[in-house]
Symmetry: C2
Amino acid sequence: MVKIGILGYGNLGRGVEAAVKKNSDMELVAVYTRRDPKSLSIKTDTAAVKSTAELDTGKEDIDVLIICGGSATDLPEMTPKYAAMYNVIDSFDTHAKIPQHFANVDKASREAGKVGIISCGWDPGMFSLNRVYAESVLPDGEAYTFWGKGVSQGHSDAVRRIDGVKDCRQYTIPVPAALDRVRNGENPELTTREKHTRECFVTAEEGADLERIENEIKTMPNYFSDYDTTVNFITEEEMKRDHSGLPHGGSVIYSGTSSDGTKHVIEYSLKLDSNPEFTGSVLVAYARAAFRLYSEGVKGAKTVLDIAPAYLSAKSGKELRAHCL
Amino acid sequence: MVKIGILGYGNLGRGVEAAVKKNSDMELVAVYTRRDPKSLSIKTDTAAVKSTAELDTGKEDIDVLIICGGSATDLPEMTPKYAAMYNVIDSFDTHAKIPQHFANVDKASREAGKVGIISCGWDPGMFSLNRVYAESVLPDGEAYTFWGKGVSQGHSDAVRRIDGVKDCRQYTIPVPAALDRVRNGENPELTTREKHTRECFVTAEEGADLERIENEIKTMPNYFSDYDTTVNFITEEEMKRDHSGLPHGGSVIYSGTSSDGTKHVIEYSLKLDSNPEFTGSVLVAYARAAFRLYSEGVKGAKTVLDIAPAYLSAKSGKELRAHCL
């Protein structure tokens, strides 16, 4: 059994807990929290709830620590810190800062003789794998990534910060015409606006100026101004009834040629009922890989690109060759 | 530069040749043939055409030999034979016999201190990767593989052997209703007949009994009797005009749950203008991996499941992390 610790018990931490239950070779040993452990009620009877202070001793009896924090401020600090004590996994997803994060985790885990796998999830993660496989097989081609339809938590949060907004759910939606052109192998050049639209469901405070809110959303730089955005005002009941889930998904579509006029289109797509549960499931599969690599004496930071697929599977190489190849 | 040799110059060998041209870190050194080398005209000016007898000396100056033979009789003999002399790659695709083939190649390449990667292509190959990634992330689920729309060369050949048939092109076609049910996450049980239909385009000899031919096709055991099959008789001109390519493709669709009622659907699909050129492109990417593994001192047989994606890419780990992750 691979002994798993979870650091952080938000949506992602709960997703990891659910995923561990689906893997019979893994057990959740403890959830570590910065909150008062007594305030936390988890769904695994056999696991403990502990303070992060206990983790900080470096002496917890876990094989892999799955760090479920945010990429903005939590992970850049937490992952290198704990990589110096445990095998660790995270879902760091600020693409531009991955090289720096990798270097920090690599240094810590290498010195500790541990394995640290960063940026596991679906993008970065499963989408990255598919971009690299496709481009390696067909170097003469172009990769397109579409996200959605799904809830962007970053965009929902940005709207919630607007004066007069009580709650928001923002959906990112690929533009069907753009998807069609890419699937047809046209290799089009697409602007940001041509690739995705954004749709906001907003609950406003009583008496708030809805026109002003709508305008503030649509003109918000970085988040909305480069997109065609639709804003729908709904009641709290409607929000709860129709928008309580965190579905997401998307597609990596790669179109390339192997010789003049001979085209191939490769598409990888995800339709996820729950973004955090799927991300948690990816983290758990890579926790298995981290444990195995560590057992073989491997040290340092890795990404999904550095890990052979067989390491993720509970099946042996022999079983995989006989049944899955 | 990785020096490539190609053994066999049929459709697949020509596909590998085209793929090598698309990879600037690789060069085709020689094509080896069982035919008279003088009878062969290839598309790479800088490469030699040689007899397999020269290959048999074990002294050819190549880094990786890509063996482009058939799975029925060529590869079970050729791949272990040449694995004892060179790093080798093949596209062995008789799923049931992979364990035996793996064992044979492993023994030969291990003793020789070389690397042999078997069963590279799209199924086995890219489809296998996607089955294993999906199942590892969501162990509680079901994988469905659909092939087509595309030309099955085995089925086309089977029809050509019928008395009175001059030529045939057989298309395998997934049943849209089955695809829809799987994409909806219904996890249906599907019979062979419910998953695929078969469509034959046949050129018959003058005066042949078309009714008998159609009946012989539709009732042929293993190949057609378990399927709904359509037979169309066409002229030689129509065959040449409309059916000269070897397109193929298909989908691996995996549907699984991460907790009660929370479903996810993962789909990987290929639309290929040319089956042999795409398969050749996969073989070439894995030739790069074989060369790198060999350079690191790795020995023995491998499959696509044993190889980290980064080994396939011409980019460095640093470039991949910065641009593709």
